[in-house]
């Protein structure tokens, strides 16, 4: 008597594999580790107590947002798009003393960003994005790369070529100071709206 050959039906194999495939397709989440990077200042206690720096009014670019997400730029209501704000910041940073009401030079220029405790995170990110975009565009133009490339290379400074372009973009001097530092000051929010 011939032995029964144990064979697995493989017509349905594709179906099973498809089922598994669909399961993994659905459960896969692409890890999203991208966003706006900032560096927080040191804690207030770590600063020397007599550090009361005088900043000239002309070197400050003030952005204020209230708890209704209304924006004031340099004291005037602002209704424009983020890209308009970005261009205003760019102009302010690269003024180099040309306009007497705008900044002396990029090193002294400070973008001051103040929100309220009631400001939504959405608005906060929108304005922060515009401010960062202004600086990244300046850097990218100086290093002669696209903004996208700039963002890539600045997160991988271990590569000497990236480091070289990064230093060109920010204008690093031999003594380590930078010609165009990203002076973005995010102030403690006011307490008008919400707890």
């Amino acid at each position: 008597m011939p032995r029964a050959t144990p064979d697995i039906p493989n017509a349905s194999m594709a179906d099973i594999a498809f089922l598994l495939l669909v399961f993994f397709l659905v459960t896969t989440t692409v890890a999203n580790d991208r966003g706006l990077a900032i560096q927080l200042p040191p804690p207030p206690e770590a600063l020397p107590p007599d550090m009361d720096i005088k900043i000239q009014e002309r070197n400050l670019f003030k952005i204020q947002v209230n708890s209704f997400d209304n924006v004031l730029v340099e004291g005037n209501p602002f209704f424009g798009t983020p890209s308009e704000l970005r261009d205003m910041i760019k102009e302010f940073v690269l003024n180099n003393g040309a306009d007497p009401t705008s900044s002396d030079n990029p090193e002294k220029a400070i973008v001051s960003y103040k929100t309220d405790r009631g400001t939504s995170h959405k608005k906060f990110i929108e304005i922060l994005d515009a401010a960062q975009a202004a600086y990244y565009q300046i850097y990218a133009e100086r290093a002669d790369v696209s903004v996208k490339k700039w963002l890539e290379l600045s997160s991988d400074l271990a590569n000497p070529e990236n480091k070289r372009l990064y230093d060109i973009g920010r204008g690093r001097r031999p003594d380590g100071t930078v010609e165009i530092p990203m002076n973005l000051s995010i102030a403690e929010p006011t307490k008008a709206g919400g707890k």
């Binding site: 397709l25 989440t29 999203n32 580790d33 890209s83 994005d129 990244y136 997160s155 919400g194």
Partner: protein, 154 residues
């Protein structure tokens, strides 16, 4: 007319015998890339959109924090809460959490730790500012506001 009536003398069916192999290949790809999430996120997470996104270079140096309105509002209320790992914490507990996270890293990497804040669009600035103050005290000053890529640049 005969030009059009000519039938190509080529077999037109796709060979199906290799289909399982192809599917298995895809299957293995997704099996390998899938990461099962170890934490359940208990807060609403609709991330804001931005254009100037930076990518984090090393994932092992990242600590995640989620802020938003709790999903179970009847139990936790509607005020945005801070979630780390699997629990809700208060702003004053942030320092302790940072120290726990730092303890997981090698000593020389501890000052490079980045906190990735995944904040819901509707959360208010107040709670985030409280967390930031604590992060400054805890000396975890590298911060990433997790956002999505905005499609059109307006």
């Amino acid at each position: 007319m005969s030009k059009f009536k000519k039938k190509a003398n080529v077999k037109q069916d796709i060979p199906t015998s290799s289909m399982p192999d192809v599917v298995f290949m895809l299957l293995f790809f997704f099996m390998v890339t899938t990461q099962m999430r170890e934490t359940n996120i208990n807060v609403k997470q609709q991330l804001p959109e931005a254009t100037q996104l930076k990518k984090l270079a090393r994932k092992s140096l990242v600590a995640y924090m989620y802020i938003g309105e709790p999903k179970k509002t009847e139990e936790w209320g509607k005020e945005p809460k801070i979630q780390v790992n699997d629990v809700f914490i208060e702003p004053k507990d942030v320092i302790q959490w940072v120290n726990q996270e730092k303890a997981k890293l090698q000593e020389f990497e501890r000052d490079q730790m980045t906190v990735s804040m995944k904040v819901d669009v509707d959360a208010k600035r107040g709670i985030i500012a409280d967390v930031e103050t604590e992060l400054r005290k805890a000396n975890a000053r590298l911060l990433l506001y997790s956002t999505l890529q905005r499609r059109v640049d307006n």
